[in-house]
């Protein structure tokens, strides 16, 4: 199966929506910290879930440049 930024973004959004506190109207352009009101720990916990879904490790230092869901998907694709 080849994953694209779009398909990975979709998986991220689906995973986020499993959390009832996350706004229902998120898109790939949603900002993870500002729009989702995630603190640093929440971001790290959520990235861990995505890592396991996609069987990839995202080193924490890669997250410094990630602001939107699309950015995260892009980082994941580059690691795969």
């Amino acid at each position: 199966m080849t994953e694209t930024i779009e398909s990975v973004s979709q998986i991220i959004i689906e995973t986020l929506l499993e959390n009832p506190k996350v706004p229902r109207n998120i898109t790939p352009e949603s900002k993870i910290i500002e729009d989702l009101e995630f603190d640093s720990l929440a971001v790290m916990n959520f990235v861990m879930e995505i890592e396991d879904k996609l069987d990839v490790s995202v080193p924490l230092d890669r997250l410094t440049d990630v602001r939107t869901i699309h950015d995260l998907a892009e980082a994941i694709i580059s690691l795969k």
Partner: protein, 400 residues
């Protein structure tokens, strides 16, 4: 927009806390120390269950005398770094004492435990290396990882299988791998299944560093920590720890058998670019290490106290962490409940710690008690009664 604008969310969170909390849980002032377990807070004698003075040694006579004598002989500060004018024979003696205590080839003493972990993690893991950190590791370890140039991978708390999976995911990417764990985790007081981690470390050919901050002086026949208790010391590459808990002073250390440890004295920035510990602190720490060596009964008294407290809380229906250690935490529902409980406990005469997310795992507020060998059985029982009373007064549901 000024330079403080970014702190507005913090300001709001703190204001909200202070609107429901009579006392500032982060601003408690101890006005006087009566004994290792009793202090004066808000003008009242209060039982101290929120210190890390696990063996009561912050007040040991031997350490006080040693400190006074060292201050008279050497003065009260070194005014310099370990690699300049800040190494006295006392520093070297303490390093030798600690290396001997751990049966290790060498020891480096740092000015705080924070700097010991910060320095070791940031220096050992270089640009092409991988750091594997337990999800619940202390802030000093995460800060060290950010200072390092390494790739940082976080694994699920106390889950050796999850670590194995993440190590294997890397495949045969070049670069050294350093796993960092703790003996006892400081929030829940839960203990690492260290043997399982040692297996993974061996399978995957990684280095293993353990921070025994909350287990040194408490676990193992001689007090060397969880690695001693689980008989895996030979498989630990680096042990770090602090003087600020069982040893009752301030400072930190790393012990290791690695033949080139001394090289780290020349490249570990939190070791090099700060003044060394003052003579009186080194002398007091040496004296307290002797006490730990010669009084294993302190360890037993502490564990008896911890076990008495833990079982009493469970019998009363509190939700506790999974293990019995020097830290025993009760998990509460939400911030208002936790802050009311903490205030009530203080009013009833005991000081404990209120720990709030994001410093706590799982986003739950914790009431954290540290149990000491110096607590009497009566004081432990008194604290249990205070918890039960406070739970009634603020409406914490107990499951009976």
């Amino acid at each position: 927009m000024d330079i403080f604008t970014k702190f507005q969310p913090l300001h709001n969170a703190f204001e909200q806390l202070m609107s429901i909390s009579k006392h500032n849980p982060f601003g408690t002032t101890i006005e006087k120390m009566i004994s290792p377990t009793i202090g004066v807070i808000n003008g009242r004698q209060t039982l101290l269950f929120g210190t890390n003075n696990y063996l009561g040694l912050s007040q040991s006579d031997a350490a006080r005398h040693a400190a006074a004598e060292a201050a008279m002989q050497y003065g009260v500060g070194t005014t310099g770094s370990r690699i300049a004018n800040g190494t006295y024979s006392l520093h070297q003696e303490l390093e030798q004492d600690l290396a001997k205590f751990f049966n290790r080839r060498s020891c480096m003493v740092f000015s705080t435990g924070y700097q010991a972990t910060l320095g070791m993690v940031s220096t050992l893991a270089g640009k092409d290396d991988y750091l594997f950190l337990d999800a619940d590791c202390h802030a000093s370890i995460y800060d060290g990882s950010r200072m390092s140039q390494a790739q940082i991978i976080r694994f699920r708390h106390n889950d050796a299988d999850d670590l194995r999976k993440r190590l294997r995911r890397l495949g045969d990417i070049p670069g050294n791998k350093l796993i960092v764990v703790e003996g006892v985790y400081s929030m829940f007081g839960d203990i690492i299944p260290l043997k399982e981690f040692v297996e993974v470390k061996k399978e995957e050919n990684a280095c293993l560093m353990i921070d025994e901050a909350h287990s040194f002086g408490i676990f193992g026949e001689h007090g060397r920590g969880i690695a001693e208790r689980d008989q895996v010391e030979a498989d630990i590459d680096f042990t770090v720890g602090t003087f600020s808990k069982s040893l009752g002073t301030v400072g930190g250390y790393c012990v290791s058998d690695h033949p080139q440890m001394d090289l780290l004295r020349l490249c570990t920035r939190p070791y090099m670019f700060t003044a060394s510990l003052p003579p009186e602190v080194i002398a007091a720490t040496k004296a307290n290490l002797e006490i730990i060596k010669n009084h294993p009964e302190l360890i037993h008294k502490l564990m008896d106290n911890a076990s008495r407290f833990y079982h009493a809380l469970q019998n009363a229906g509190f939700l506790t962490g999974p293990d019995i250690s020097s830290v025993i935490s009760v998990i509460l529902e939400d911030l208002p409940q936790a802050s009311q409980f903490w205030n009530r406990v203080l009013e009833l005469g005991a000081y404990i710690n209120l720990s709030l997310p994001p410093a706590t795992p799982d986003n739950r507020p914790l009431l954290r008690a540290s149990i000491a060998a110096a607590h009497t059985t009566e004081q432990i029982d008194q604290l249990v009664q205070i918890y039960i009373q406070a739970a009634q007064d603020v409406g914490v549901a107990l499951k009976i």
